[in-house]
Every structure is written in C-alpha cells, then in structure tokens.
Amino acid sequence: MLLDVKGLKTEFVTADGIVNAVNGISYSLDEGCTLGIVGESGCGKSVSVLSILRLLPKSIARVSGEALFNSRNLFTLSNSELTEIRGNKIAMIFQDPMTCLNPVLTIGDQISEAIETHLNLSKTDAKIRAIEMLQMVGIPSAEKRFNDYPHKFSGGMRQRVMIAMALSCKPSLLIADEPTTALDVTIQSQIVELVKRLRDELGMAIIWITHDLAVIAGLADKIVVMYAGFIVEEADVDTLYENPKHPYTIGLLNALPRVDGKRGTRLTSIDGFPPDLIKLPLGCPFYKRCSYHQPQCFEERPILREYSSTHKVACWVNL
C-alpha cells in the first residue's frame, strides 16, 4: 500500500468559530493506482490532500489522524524529512496553471530548481533532464522554450509545464487538484490523455480531484465521493457509475448534461446548498437536500459501511 489515510480530520480556527473542513476520512491507495476524489466546491477535497502534505498554515489549521506514505506517518516526520518526500516522492499539480508559475522566472529555471534540489544534479545535467521532461509532456521545440517565461505559454501549455515540473523527480504519487477545470474541453482531453500515458510509462499512482464525474470516468480505478468533509461513498469505478448507492452520488450523475442524451430532457439538479461547516448538523450532512430522507437521517449520522467488498456507502436508506 502506497498511501493509507486514517481518520483524517482538519479544522480551521476562524473568528466565526471552528470550521470542520474534513471530518474523519479514511482511504488508501495502492501503487500505480488512480484514485478520484469527487465533490462540490467546499466539500473538503482539496483541504484533505493539502492536510496530508502539511501544506496548510499551522496558525489556523488543526490536523489530526494519520497519513501513512510507504508506512511512514507524514504527520510525525521532521520538516527536513518531509521536504525530501514533497516534490520528490509526492508531487502536486494545481487547478490554475496561470497563478502557479512564477512569472519572473523562465520555465526552465523553475523546472531545474526541483531537479537540482531533489536529484543532486549539476546545473547542466539538470537542464538536460528538464528539457527531456518538456519533450515528454509534448512541448514543441523544448530546447528553445526552456528559456521562455510563463506568459508566453497558453493555458494548456502551462499545465504541461506544471506536469513536467511535478514529474521531473519521478514521484511515486502525483496529486492533481482539478488540473483541467480551467481549461477548454479539447485541451482537457489532451491533458487527460497525457496523464494517462505518463502514468503507464512511469507507473506512478495518482489522486485526481474534480467536481465533474465525467472527467475521471476513463481515468480512475477507485472513486471516493465527498460531501461536507465526509466520505459518503467509495467504490471501484465501474460499480460507482453503474450502481451508485448514495443519493448525493446519484444526484451528481444525473446532473451531468450528456452529449449522448436527448434534448429537452430535464437535468435533475440537487437543490439547496451544502450545510454550514461551522455548525454541522447532528444527523446526515446531506439530510436537507436529500429526497429519500427519513426521521433517522436527521437524528443520527450514518457511518461508512460496507455494501460489498469494493463498495462502501454512508446512508441509512437502502437504495
């Protein structure tokens, strides 16, 4: 097992009260596998991975639980041990490729920096490796573009640069936080295909965070659906799309406009909003928006229980 997250809980201390962003979630990921984390804005999907990498500011974030990476608990490592893992064994790409690159450094400098730090290569060797990486992610005339600044690249190209940077140290885990949300559909499919190819070539594991269940259908092996900081459903990819059990997952799937659908069919939207994370409801967090709710759902929070060996659901109602 590559990554094993147990009982991860993240709270933010704010002036208005304590925000319960992630409420005791557990998941695991094997080597070479792809895990999709799906949910709406504010459901804690990004916060959960930022917590694992200890990238949240200590002054306001309180993180508890365990995150075992190759059996080492990331939460008890010293800062220098952690630096060795971050960027080297675990790499991350972010949603907005426009703001994640330093505008006053050439992309070559930015990629080389990571290589020099982690692989102990000389400047010239790092440059050769960086150019190799740029070629691998499909940037034409990589040698020339090595000296270009980020503003000379389009959104899709910048995301490729980010991927090149992330993969330059051959990580065993790549965390992709909505990497295609800011991109056009055509560029999105380019990036998805690229990541798929690189995953197979390099044999790395991926955590892909998204709000769109369609994007990861062809990519993920396993999917966890998050809502208000809880995991509400977890299943392997085929089961989740064919036989979703949680009303929220069903809602998300029905809300997708389908290119193969009929015109005029009404999309089933999930009405209402997620609950206030400062005052979490006593019962099921999805209670208010759920059309199947029963009195029990209001009183008692459902726990994630096994539905089959590859399928877990947190719901009182058996759908």
Binding site: E40, E193, G218, A220, A255, D260, L267, S269
Partner: protein, 327 residues
Amino acid sequence: MESNNKLIDIKNLQVYFPINEGILIQRHRGDCKAVDDISFNISKGETLGLVGESGCGKSTTGRAILQLIRPTAGHVYFKGEDLTKSNNKELRKKRREMQIVFQDPYASLNPRASIGEILSEPIEVHKICKSKSEKNEYIKELMSMVGLAPGFIARYPHEFSGGQRQRIVIARALAVKPEFIVCDEPVSALDVSIQAQIINLLCDLQSKFFLTYLFIAHDLSVVRHMSNRIAVMYLGKLVEIADDEELYHHAQHPYSLALLSSVPLANPKEEKLRKRIVLEGDVPSPTNPPIGCRFSTRCWRVTDICREVSPELKDIGGGHFVACYHL
C-alpha cells in the same frame, strides 16, 4: 426557414481589432481577426448554440450582435432592422429587447450595490415601472422568478454563492422583458450540481417567456442540452452549422468530430473503449491565421488545397452546412 421567422439575421459579420505600434505616432501593424466573415440566423423562440475553443471569437460574435463591440463590416438584422446602422440612442431603445448574461457572475455584479439596486437600474433606465412601490413589487417578482427569496433584496453580491449570483445576473437581464438573450458561457464557472440548476432555469424561462437564446459555450454536452441548432466556430470562422441531432450523429467537419470526441462521458466502460481524436497543438494566433482553411494546421485530413484556399460553407442538405473539402 422562412425569412419572416428570423429574429436575428447576421450577414458577413467581421470584427477586427487593430494592432497599433508606437507611443506617439501610432502605426497600424495588423489586425486581430476575431470574427472573420460569418453569416447565420436565429429564428424566434429558438436556441442557437455557438461552440468553440477559447479565443475562437464566439464571445466577440455575441457582443457584436448586441453592438457592444461595433463590427468592422457586415450587417446584423434584428427584426429586419440593421443594428450596425443604428446610433447609440436608437440602440439604447433596442437593448430593451436584447440582453446578455456573462460567464463570470463574480465580475459582472457591482460589489457595492445591493441586489435591489442592481435590479432597479435597468428598470429605471428603460422606465418600466411607474411608481416606486410598483418597482419594488416587480423586483420581488423577478427574484422569485429566478428562484431567489425576495427577502434577499437588501443583500450584497458577496453574500451569495456563484450559482445564486448567476441567478441575479439572469434576473437583471430579464428585468426589461427582452426577446433575445445572449448567454455567454453562463455555466462554465459553476460546479456540476449548480450548473444543472442554472440550465434548468434557463430552459424554464425560455418556455415561459418565449425567449430566443444565443448560447455560447466550449462544452458540447451543455450546448447540446440547450440548443435546437448548433454552430461550431474555429478561429473566427464558422466551420459547421446543423440541427442538434444531426450534428451529434452526423458531424462532418473534422473539428466538430474532434470537439465531440473530447467531451468526457460519465461511463467508465465506454470511456475505456472509445477512440479519442486528440488534437495536437493549440489554436493558431488570430493575428496571423493560416491562409487556407483555418483548421489546416491541426487537421488530419489536410491536403494541398486546404492550405491554399479557405473552404466556403456548403449546404449538404437539411440545413446542414459544412466548410470542408473532404467530406
């Protein structure tokens, strides 16, 4: 389609943005050909979807129709009247009949104005209500029409989520009782679950008020859900226009095929079997577009003629137009 049925008729629309050089003496160095000679029409009550990648000129087209950007050449007929010949005063009256909903609901609302103030502006400009009390009643009616509680009238935009803000923008567009609305990527910035709410709202309003939409998006699945006909645009040119079923099942232009195949399907089994057409590279710059077919630099069917002469839109039957030599 009969001519009297057309609400909007666009003929040879061209929008060029000049590129000037020099600080004191400005020299005209070239043009950014955002929209280059396109023609289409929209019938009353219809939704025309306009699809293409970022920078293909779809938003510019939408704005040029409303004369928010004055076209370089060509004509825009709204109910038979040429808007390109109207002066600003005449246009102001016309804008009562045509409105726009923008992509980013965060940037299109004044953060210092309350919802009541935002919604009363179009009402005052176009003198829709006679008295203050009538106006307040009307604003509350508008709010409940788009699914906002009328009690929110004194709240400010930052107190709302993205989906609610888009509802406010839609209410503002509806305030003047328009016939025609340009929806410029109204759901691209929203989460999937909220996206469905807004799409449903737009559909409901259309059938309630018999609205005509130009629906602009880069995602074919959203467009297909809304539109009667779909126009595909690439680098300032229309490459294909057809009925929505026709385009989905019998798309002819290589670019339309590539767009269709890049839409992700929410079905892992189909998705794994599916052969994707992945376009290489990016869209060329509109300042210096390819001489022949605009798509020739990324097309897999390209031959010599494509690189030399730009193909015209040809009718291949049933209102299906394609601009390609290789069908």
